[in-house]
């Protein structure tokens, strides 16, 4: 009788759980995140002789932008291709991890103590250089807020400011405005 009662309770629980779960409100659709299609550099040049603001884009930057917009991978560099495929990058990393692990085991088992030290030093050196390369590639320069911090002073002085910029594709704004330039400047 006790078991039957427990079973009934369980059935009731399951029966009520489903409608309760179904009654949960749908999650709100997340707003469209801006998609970074290209990272390039931007130079802001104050020109006292000009009457119109101008945007100059180099031929290569335009081609890269066009390729990024059309999602064509034909003219991408190897680095861009790697960046655009996270699955492949992850698998490459997994295989590299396995390779280095097995290489370490093989070294420990096969090479004599003296040779081990030499090869370990070589491997360590290679790893340090590799790590430095990765850091250099992954973080080429300080963050944008650092490079753009002197923009107000430079503008007032009439000198050029140079820094990195991400070109993002965003949904059409409701106010009908065109391009927007967001500069990371902290108020002093």
């Amino acid at each position: 009788m006790k078991q039957f009662f427990s079973l009934c309770i369980l059935c009731l629980l399951l029966a009520t759980a489903k409608p309760a779960q179904a009654d949960i409100a749908r999650p709100k659709p997340s707003p469209d995140q801006p998609r970074v299609v290209l990272r390039t550099s931007l130079k802001i040049v104050p020109d006292s002789k000009s009457y119109e603001a101008r945007l100059q884009i180099s031929q290569s930057s335009l081609q890269e932008l066009r390729a990024a917009l059309t999602n064509t991978q034909a003219n991408e560099s190897m680095a861009q291709r790697i960046v655009h495929s996270s699955t492949r990058t992850m698998l490459a990393g997994v295989f590299m991890f396995l390779s280095l692990s097995f290489a370490g085991v093989w070294l420990a088992r096969s090479v004599q103590a003296r040779g081990q030290k030499t090869i370990t030093a070589l491997l360590m050196g290679a790893a340090v250089i590799g790590g430095a390369v990765i850091i250099a590639r992954a973080n080429a320069g300080p963050p944008g807020v650092w490079t753009w911090r002197r923009l107000p002073q430079n503008l007032s002085k009439g000198t050029t400011t140079n820094g990195a910029i991400d070109i993002e594709i965003v949904p059409d704004p409701s106010d009908g405005s065109g391009m927007k330039l967001i500069i990371p400047i902290r108020p002093e």
Binding site: S99, W106, S110
Partner: protein, 358 residues
């Protein structure tokens, strides 16, 4: 049994043969240098035309000679190498079928375009893991040597492959012709060790010739690839993947390496093989030089061998060569596409037989 089958290649008296045949090391080296220089010259001069001609003339026959060579190297009984050969044949079959299926799948448009690099990388990974397994199995047969380095190397290559699968496939296109030179090296070591040093010195000519071609052709304008055939040839050489390098140079280097590859299988190895075979004293040099004589193959000659099967395989090979020539005559571009797809089998087959010679 396996040892019995390999006696022909192991038993060798170079001194006796050196005096019994007019072919000298100097003649061999001269022939090698002349062939290499002539190939580089012709490939640089008219790369597209010579690509068409060499594939038409030599692609099929060189495969037949490779088949014959592999049959010569195959033991009558696998013995301790059973696992190695089983892995080799299963791998060749599976990878070939998968490779041939790729263009068919592409034609049916089953996967989106962006997925193809991953599919290509997956096939390359399977190839590398298969090669790594073969090296490991071969290493197990050599207790005095440690071949376990193959595992980290294989995994490292897998990693590079996943970063740039298209470039990895292109590397196979350029590296495969060089495997023939390695075969020749191992064969000379067994049969004409006195020539080995001279041969290895000749190999230094190869990077010099490639560097010379690079120097001469780096700034040449791109080859006209306005028709389907020429476009296929430039794509095969990697013109799309390496847009900043002259397609003239890419095709020329590829044709040059292919010509060397064909030269090794069609001229160098048959030239040396009869000499090697005559050492046992059971057949004269002339008899041993007959490529049609299946009795020169241990697999057919051995009392427990398969002479009928070998005859059938070689005859079928001749038939396929004839079919290939007819196909090239009727529709060269399509036949070339089909050939280079199916020919992956011979690229794969070279790996286990080369490993067995190491």
């Amino acid at each position: 049994m396996e040892r019995t089958a390999n006696i022909d290649l192991a038993a060798w008296r170079p001194r006796k043969l050196a005096g019994s045949h007019p072919l000298t090391a100097r003649f061999f080296v001269g022939l090698l240098i002349c062939c290499a220089c002539l190939s580089a010259l012709l490939a640089s001069w008219l790369p597209l035309q010579f690509s068409v001609i060499t594939v038409f003339l030599f692609a099929g026959p060189h495969n037949w000679f490779e088949l014959r060579y592999f049959l010569m190297r195959l033991p009558v009984r696998f013995g301790k190498s059973r696992n190695f050969f089983l892995t080799a044949f299963v791998g060749i079959g599976f990878l070939t079928l998968a490779y041939v299926a790729l263009p068919v799948v592409y034609a049916f448009n089953l996967w989106p375009d962006y997925a193809w690099p991953m599919i290509l990388a997956s096939w390359n990974t399977l190839l590398l893991l298969w090669l790594g397994l073969l090296v490991w199995l071969r290493g197990k047969q050599k207790p005095k040597q440690d071949w376990s380095w193959a595992i980290p190397v294989t995994l490292g290559l897998c990693s590079i492959n996943w970063l740039a699968p298209e470039f990895f496939s292109l590397a196979i296109v350029y590296l495969h012709p060089l495997v023939a030179l390695w075969f020749l090296d191992r064969h000379l070591r067994r049969t004409r060790p006195a020539w080995l040093r001279a041969y290895r010195r000749c190999l230094w000519l190869l990077p010099l010739l490639v560097a010379g071609m690079f120097w001469q052709l780096a700034l040449t304008p791109a080859l006209p690839d306005d028709n389907g055939l020429f476009w296929r040839i430039t794509q095969h050489a990697g013109a799309q993947l390496l847009p900043n390098i002259s397609s003239h140079m890419l095709v020329a280097v590829h044709v040059f390496l292919e010509m060397l590859h064909y030269g090794v299988w069609l001229i160098a190895l048959p030239l040396i093989a009869p000499l090697a075979k005559a050492a046992d004293g059971r057949h004269t040099l002339r008899e041993r030089g007959r490529i049609w004589d299946v009795k020169t193959l241990p697999l057919a000659r051995h009392p427990r061998g398969f002479p009928k099967l070998i005859v059938t395989a070689l005859a079928f090979g001749v038939f396929l060569v004839a079919i290939l020539w007819i196909g090239f005559s009727v529709n060269y571009a399509t036949t070339r596409d089909i050939y280079f797809t199916v020919a992956i089998a011979h690229v794969l087959a070279e790996a286990p037989f080369l490993l067995k010679m190491l």
